[in-house]
């Protein structure tokens, strides 16, 4: 199956030689026994990543400016979109921003309250349930968290503002 992809694929492929080159450079400063493994791998990978990059640039050129990549569908549940790629990217950014805001809240008020608020707002505005349904879901989330952390003695990130258990 063919799909049209923006050149982010090439950008990712171009990052790899840089990463592996850094791997080589950094490993040179290590003691012999710590160096030998990362040095040899990153050296081989650097060369392979360059070959891959050259191949992909060639493929892009032959496809007259549009990158056509063939799915590696046998290996993975690959993404196939029935919406335009621009829409995929914008939705992705929205969800990523959502996670970043969640992290910010965890940092300030701690994990349990933040994730509960996250569930409530998600249910209200993404799942589009009513407020009652959203609050029930939020309470279920917090209840699950309190139960599991007590039963399995698990811990959660504390916030800057310390709240009483099970809120913080």
């Amino acid at each position: 199956m063919k799909k049209v992809a923006p050149n982010f694929n090439i950008i990712f492929s171009a990052c790899l030689p840089v990463v592996f080159a850094y791997g080589v450079y950094e490993s040179l400063s290590y003691m012999y026994l710590a160096k030998i493994f990362p040095l040899s791998i990153s050296l081989v990978l650097f060369i392979t990543a360059l070959i891959n990059l050259i191949q992909e640039i060639r493929e892009t050129r032959t496809a007259s400016g549009v990158t056509e990549i063939i799915d590696a569908g046998t290996a993975d549940l690959e993404s196939q979109w029935d919406i335009p790629m621009a829409q995929v990217w914008s939705k992705l950014l929205v969800y990523m921003a959502g996670i970043l805001i969640l992290y910010l809240f965890i940092w300030i008020i701690g994990y349990p309250l933040s994730i509960t608020l996250f569930i409530i707002l998600f249910y209200r505005y993404v799942t589009e349930t009513g407020w009652i349904g959203a609050f029930i879901a939020g309470a279920a989330g917090m209840g699950f968290l309190a139960l599991v952390s007590k039963l399995l003695t698990m811990d959660w990130p504390q916030g800057l503002i310390h709240l009483p258990w099970p809120l913080g």
């Binding site: 891959n52 993975d76 569930i119 993404v126 699950f144 811990d155």
Partner: protein, 489 residues
């Protein structure tokens, strides 16, 4: 033999049995959720097994992973959406059958095939262990290093359509595994000045970041509609009879499943297609395939359950995972303080037997529960993903934080999630990266011991030379085969 049956007693004792059933129930649930498969399920359980009694942890982990290919059939048949990557081929004939009102028949046949396939995998594992024992024991560090290298090369060549990408993906995993403290000397590598990275990135973070986050984000972006759900209908017994009438198909496809499970790099995502392709090619009357031929359901379902038994063979005997979920299982073994590899067959045979019994019993319970609970489970499959997503975010972030109870866990999870999404989007095989990550430590340790103990003369050992030849042959054949295949495709 005595030990073999003694272990059954251990598995059936209440604390272990409860764990096994808990694993089975969790596996059934994860199988039903679209997109989430064995890798994510195993990874979520890793924080739970810290400090757990080893036999119980085995029952939990194996109980879970054994039944995912059983229950993932529900969304494949009822909605035409794969419950996990191992049930994609089941859609080909399962969904048309459901549309004809024969969903119960398709599911009955699928669960019977799954059960027999799973038991076949467990049987092969039982037979292989005593046979392989003398062979495994002659393997020393140099040979184990070469075997791990063989595993890596096969992962690279087999796991994607482009061997270079497969190889690089495995390499990304190796480098991720090399982060943090070196095994032989007090040196911290690639830490970028962060204390968090001194211990390396934990397996839970790599597994959940690479596999769970991209799946959740993609399912949310797609926002799948649920309008196409079929009704169960009747015909459970017909389905069971269909499966039993096609015993030879089940047997053949179970063999395929075990072999695919055994080979590193070929995981759940291809086993169903290989079995489906095999059955279409070897059948004389193939006009009904794709339109609702019951054989098209039986073949992939027997193969995908049999692969777990096959996958456990290299994992236990050599410490080389056959698939992504086995890679996580391998990490789980290390958490429990068990070193997989040749010592397994001398010191921990009872654990292998626990795994075998758990695998067999889980398959029986998984198939039984799937039939008994088919009505409520069918209702579960129609829950829109956006109802589940925030709870999955909760479970994933909470599980990740248990890895080292540090903010770094959450940040690393986000980075791994972005990496996983990009890899998924552009066809870089993520299972290869996961297997590379898990093997990284072993590879380095085996190499270090080989050099320390034998100098460079380890390269001249006959076993090493033989394995080097096999690696060379497999890579050459793999690249040749891919080149031959690619111009026309």
């Amino acid at each position: 033999m005595e030990l073999f049956f003694q272990t059954l007693g251990v598995v059936l004792s209440p604390p272990h049995f409860v764990m096994l059933i808990a694993g089975v129930l969790m596996g059934l649930a994860i199988g039903i959720l679209p997109g989430l498969g064995g890798i994510v399920g195993m990874t979520i359980l890793l924080p739970v097994i810290y400090g757990m009694e080893v036999h119980s942890a085995f029952a939990l982990l194996i109980g879970m992973v054994a039944v995912i290919p059983t229950s993932d059939t529900f969304p494949s048949v009822m909605m035409g959406i794969p419950g996990s990557s191992a049930s994609q081929a089941t859609i080909m004939d399962g969904y048309p059958l459901a549309k004809k009102g024969e969903a119960a028949r398709a599911l009955g046949a699928a669960f019977t095939a799954s059960l027999i396939g799973g038991l076949f995998g467990a049987t092969v594992l039982t037979i292989i262990i005593p046979i392989a024992r003398p062979i495994v024991l002659v393997f020393a560090s140099p040979e184990l290093f070469m075997l791990a290298l063989l595993g890596m090369s096969m992962v690279g060549v087999l796991s994607g359509q482009n061997p270079i990408k497969g190889f690089l993906a495995a390499g990304i995993g190796l480098m991720l595994g090399a982060l943090g403290d070196a095994p032989a000397v007090p040196e911290y590598r690639y830490t970028f000045g962060f204390d968090y990275l001194m211990d390396g990135v934990p397996l839970v973070i790599v597994g959940l970041g690479l596999f769970a986050i991209p799946e959740i984000v993609d399912l949310l972006i797609k926002g799948r509609s649920i309008s196409k759900v079929a009704t169960l209908g009747k015909g459970w017994l017909d389905g069971v009879k269909d499966a039993l009438n096609h015993k030879l198909i089940i047997l053949r496809c179970s063999v395929i499943g075990v072999i695919v499970g055994f080979l590193p790099g070929l995981g759940g995502s291809v086993v169903d297609w290989i079995a489906y392709g095999h059955i279409v090619q070897t059948s004389k009357d193939r006009e009904n395939f794709g339109k609702g031929d019951i054989r098209g359901v039986i073949a992939p379902e027997s193969a995908n359950n049999a692969k777990e038994g096959g996958g456990l063979i290299p994992t236990f005997l050599f410490g080389i995972p056959g698939s992504g979920s086995m890679a996580v299982f391998l990490g789980g073994l290390l958490i429990l303080g068990i070193q997989p590899g040749p010592s397994m067959v001398t010191e921990n045979v009872d654990l292998i037997y626990t795994a075998i019994w758990s695998l067999a019993l889980a398959n029986v319970f998984g198939a039984g529960l799937s039939i008994l609970l088919s009505k409520p489970i069918t209702r579960l499959t129609i829950i829109p993903f956006s109802y589940l997503a925030p709870f999955l975010v909760l479970i994933i972030t909470f599980a990740s934080y248990q890895a080292s109870r540090n903010w770094g866990d959450l940040i690393a999870l986000l980075f791994m999630g972005i990496l996983g999404w990009i890899m998924k989007q552009y066809g870089w095989p993520r299972p290869a990266a996961l297997i590379g990550y898990v093997l990284s430590d072993n590879l380095e340790t085996y190499l270090f011991i080989s050099v320390q103990r034998y100098g460079f003369s380890w390269l001249a050992r006959p076993g090493v030379l033989a394995l080097a030849l096999i690696i060379l042959a497999s890579v050459t054949m793999g690249i040749f085969y891919q080149k031959k295949k690619s111009p026309g495709s």
